[in-house]
């Protein structure tokens, strides 16, 4: 079976979430890989949420807000854009490939763009392969599994560090 990426999306209530509703009302069909978390404004999305989504197993994170100049809250999306551009650099520095985190402006009328964006992102993340941070965390911590049991055994002996 081919790899099906898990994508967590944060959609602002007024534009992108509404656009996703519109895509539904219009019965557009798109890939079922995205799980939408609704926020009132893309400006509510804290870079911690994006990182946390990756850490909890997302292969991609999609952030959707109103077009620049169109924010329901005047300028929330500019605040998002600025902080997310820095986050982008940090994610890159931490080895998370381009394309796993994406910021898109989708207005309430752009149901079609929800479809196109989701399909495109799913295809691109699928091509990148699984990120699987939880699996990586487990893998990394294998190097510290052994000693704990040894030290805590009832008759600890001298530890041979060489492995």
């Amino acid at each position: 079976m081919s790899f099906e990426p898990k994508i967590v999306a944060f959609f602002c209530n007024w534009c992108t979430y509404t656009a996703a509703d519109l895509a539904g009302v219009s019965r557009l069909k798109y890939a079922p890989n995205v799980r939408v978390i609704r926020v009132m404004c893309s400006g509510r999305v804290d870079p911690q949420f994006v990182m946390d989504a990756f850490a909890k197993g997302a292969d991609g994170v999609l952030l959707g807000g109103c077009h620049p100049g169109d924010c329901h809250y005047a300028e929330g999306n500019y605040k998002t854009l600025r902080r997310m551009r820095m986050l982008n650099r940090m994610l890159k520095d931490m080895g998370i490939e381009d394309g796993r985190f994406r910021l898109e402006w989708i207005s309430g009328a752009e149901g079609e763009k929800v479809k196109v964006t989701v399909n495109d992102m799913v295809a691109k993340v699928r091509a990148l392969g699984p990120l699987d941070m939880p699996g990586k965390f487990k893998e990394w911590d294998k190097e510290i599994e052994e000693l704990e049991a040894h030290v805590n055994s009832d008759a600890p002996t001298e530890v041979a560090h060489a492995r």
């Binding site: 870079p47 990182m51 931490m94």
Partner: protein, 321 residues
């Protein structure tokens, strides 16, 4: 005379500054020594591992452990101390969140070894000899600990009861922690023993911070004549104060240097770097991507800047490779 409570100090991947901080207690150290029985303190006294191993479990009242966990030896020691101590205090930024050593989590172990033993300027090692974990010499086997693939905070290896933040913790917070322990007046387990409010609270420059900090440029300390009165962020310097726990009495800002975040975040924040970014960059001046990028270029090393003491506790933990 009833037994005095037994106290252990131990050091892992650290610079020694935390040991220095204990000594910095000055005459107060005498009060401590009077009240407790020190059973382990490698920097000052000679104890053998076997001495500690031989003690009954939970026979040590408190173990103060500083430094990050980088090797299997450190790993073994902290597990042993966890077994012997009733209370483990993670002491200082390295133990709490990886500290400076954790910046190594941006690199692969192999790349680090290769640089240190082969490529580093000044190295003369034509045979490219690397330290071995086990060597036989004149019939005897010598061992060295294993270098882990990554640097961990203490609580990523053992359970920790309390945290003393700082690089290093200041005498004031050490003393108040010690007093609390001796008096048995400890807060809930897992607490960081310094005020759970950000640094601006105790910064003398606080009042000079403008309400609208719209930055169009970031500068590094050597690039500017720093105004000794004015908020450092307002001068375009990356001061981590707003995202950093207080308790140090704003030592660095008082010394005309921006806060670099050694006390870690408040209890409400999971990831100090991400949160700082969310705050400061939301309000920079430009609106267009390329102009935003130009401002961001003023911070050439975001990870090293925002996670100087905390990369182990970054939500992503280390660079993927």
């Amino acid at each position: 005379m009833p037994d005095k409570p037994k106290v252990a100090f131990y050091w892992c991947a650290s610079c020694g500054g935390c040991e220095e901080a204990v000594v910095d207690l000055a005459e107060d150290i005498l009060k401590v020594v009077e009240a407790v029985d020190i059973v382990l303190w490698p920097v000052a006294m000679d104890f053998k591992k076997a001495d500690i191993a031989a003690r009954p479990d939970k026979s040590v009242a408190v173990a103060f452990i500083n430094g990050a966990i980088r090797t299997s030896e450190q790993e073994e020691w902290v597990h042993m101390l966890r077994r012997k101590a009733q209370v483990v205090v993670s002491f200082g930024a390295c133990a709490n969140s990886g500290g400076i050593p954790a910046l190594a989590n941006q690199f692969k172990k192999e790349d680090i070894l290769k640089f240190v033993y082969e490529d580093c300027p000044g190295i003369d090692n034509p045979q490219k000899i690397r330290p071995q974990t086990s060597t036989v010499d004149e019939g005897r086997t010598l061992t060295l600990p294993v270098l882990h693939n990554m640097v961990r905070s203490l609580d990523q290896v053992i359970e920790v009861d309390y945290y003393l933040p700082g690089c290093p913790p200041t005498p004031k917070i050490i003393m108040s922690a010690v007093q609390a322990i001796l008096a048995g007046k400890l807060p809930a387990r897992g607490t960081v023993l310094s005020p759970d409010i950000a640094l601006c609270e105790e910064c003398k420059r606080k009042d000079s911070k403008p309400a609208d900090l719209a930055l169009a440029e970031f500068k590094r300390p050597h690039q500017v004549q720093i105004d000794p009165e004015k908020c450092l962020l307002a001068q375009g310097l990356v001061c981590m104060g707003p995202a950093t726990r207080s308790g140090c009495e704003a030592l660095c800002p008082s010394g005309n240097m921006p806060c670099t975040g050694c006390f870690g975040p408040t209890s409400r924040v999971k990831d100090q770097g991400a949160k700082f970014v969310s705050s400061v960059f939301s309000n920079i001046v430009p609106k267009e991507e390329k102009d935003i990028d130009a401002v961001l270029d003023g911070i050439p090393d975001p990870i090293g800047t925002f996670y100087r003491y905390g990369l182990s506790k970054c939500i992503l933990r280390r660079k993927l490779n």
